[in-house]
Subunit: 289 residues, 2 copies
């Protein structure tokens, strides 16, 4: 029997399951944790959802995601910050140590990406004291550059590391191989982040061809990402935090039965999520990065 | 009347026009140059195509593209190098100073992106003496990270600059805002490349949403890219080379009449391609980068 104690499934992977059904299904398959999305948690009710997760014995690596702040209208921007405070509270309520930041990018009609990035930094700096008080980390997740126009202006691991440095305590990195696998600097970035700043690690696969920009991620093993390489790299840097599969798949997995999806997730990820073997410091220096 | 002397249209923009028709149409609209694709040139015949372009008085900023070298089979790999030599000769024949390198990425079944990148570097190092003898530069073009699995393992401007440094004389950079606009390091990279290494500059626009990963580029002005910013940056670094529009648009522009497409290209790009105003060195230091 594989040790799945650090393995979580992000519930968007089983898009058609309610929070209750996802919790029940994941637990039945021996999965350790569930990555929670705000809309499912709201549908379940925060207190009821928290109890359901706790009763099933699942851990929660993160709550997805922050509300977008790509809003030129001051009132709308303030409302987005307030909504983000609510989500930080919700993360605390379900025991999620991290709120994954997906902040949007350009506002309507805007073309200045530097300004959009500054707006995000300002918003996060303003939210940070609240996050620290709530005991929830702000998880900076670089999103694939193909999302730079709309979903997020945080697009490389190095960019997020620098932002993390500027914001300081209470922030960290959410790494997702789907978003970063192409980046020649990603391995170096993981080493630089280290175990203190690496909050959670997401898996899925890059399909060639990719038929849909947003919702055509592949099951681990069905694409071109070298997952074994990342498993070894994470072991070498001493990472023993959550490893979480997260698949957006309108064209395939979202059309399947949730139970089947979870079964295949476990089958494909079990070899990647075993508790790490401790390494000597010299093996860290030898990392290919 | 706008000065279009440095402005070229890459012929893939008018996919349905033969080389002859593209040359005739561009020249009639006062466009200065044509970016040529190998398949159109082969269809026309290299000598006949070269004469047609020369007679029309068009310049050729580049020939697109190198043949892919993502081939594990040694014989197929050797054949790809030989084909690239043929394309270098073709570039010389039509007066194109640059062969745009799009080298492919992972071979079938391959997952090691580091190995794929090394293979590309090895291939280019082997081709370089031939390119130098032909008087044609090897133009390293970073392709958007969404093409890292198949079309190219060269994915950031910084990565290509480093490769250019290693390969040395006879290589340079092909910059395309569509591929690089999201990159926080792109402006710095353009400054670092400088006028000596920046071989040509491509325009098109990023549409939100993007409906097709490969062939849904937008007409300049229809998307979110800040073209005026890049025009000013290029002027400040002293770039006075070609500026070329290149649109892959299966869903829109490829379905329109070529003459209309060319008319709109000219209309949208004329404000971006005026011969540069000379700047003082201090204005270069003030570049936002």
């Amino acid at each position: 029997m594989s040790d799945l104690s650090r393995f979580a499934i992000n519930q968007i992977t089983t898009k058609n399951l309610s929070l209750d059904l996802a919790v029940e299904t994941y637990a039945r398959h021996g999965v350790g944790g569930i990555g929670v999305w705000m809309d499912y948690l709201d549908a379940a009710g925060i207190a009821a959802g928290a109890k359901r997760i706790r009763d099933a014995g699942l851990f929660v690596p993160c709550l997805c995601t922050s509300a977008w702040v790509n809003l030129a209208d001051p009132a709308a921007y303030r409302a987005a910050l307030e909504e983000n405070r609510r989500r930080l509270d919700a993360a605390a309520a379900i025991g999620a140590p991290t709120l994954v930041v997906v902040p949007g990018s350009l506002a309507t009609g805007e073309r200045d990406l530097v300004a959009a990035r500054q707006r995000v930094e300002d918003a996060l700096a303003e939210l940070l004291p609240y996050a620290l008080a709530a005991g929830v980390k702000i998880g900076l997740e670089p999103l694939h550059p193909m999302f730079a126009g709309d979903r997020s202006c945080l697009n490389t691991f190095a960019q997020c590391l620098e932002l993390c440095d500027r914001l300081g305590e209470g922030t960290g990195l959410v790494a997702d191989v789907y978003h970063c696998w192409w980046d020649p600097e990603f391995p170096k970035g993981l080493v630089a982040a280290g175990v203190e700043r690496l909050l959670t690690f997401h898996l899925s696969d890059w399909l060639t061809p990719t038929r849909d920009v947003y919702q055509d991620r592949g099951m681990v093993g069905d694409g071109v990402i070298d997952h074994a390489y990342y498993r070894d790299l994470l072991n070498r840097i001493g990472y023993d935090g959550p490893i979480e599969i997260e698949i957006f798949s309108r064209l395939d997995w979202w059309q399947r039965d949730g139970d089947e999806t979870v079964r295949v997730c476990v089958e494909r990820c079990a070899p990647l999520v075993a508790p790490r073997v401790r390494q000597t410091p010299s093996s860290v220096a030898a990392i290919r990065a």
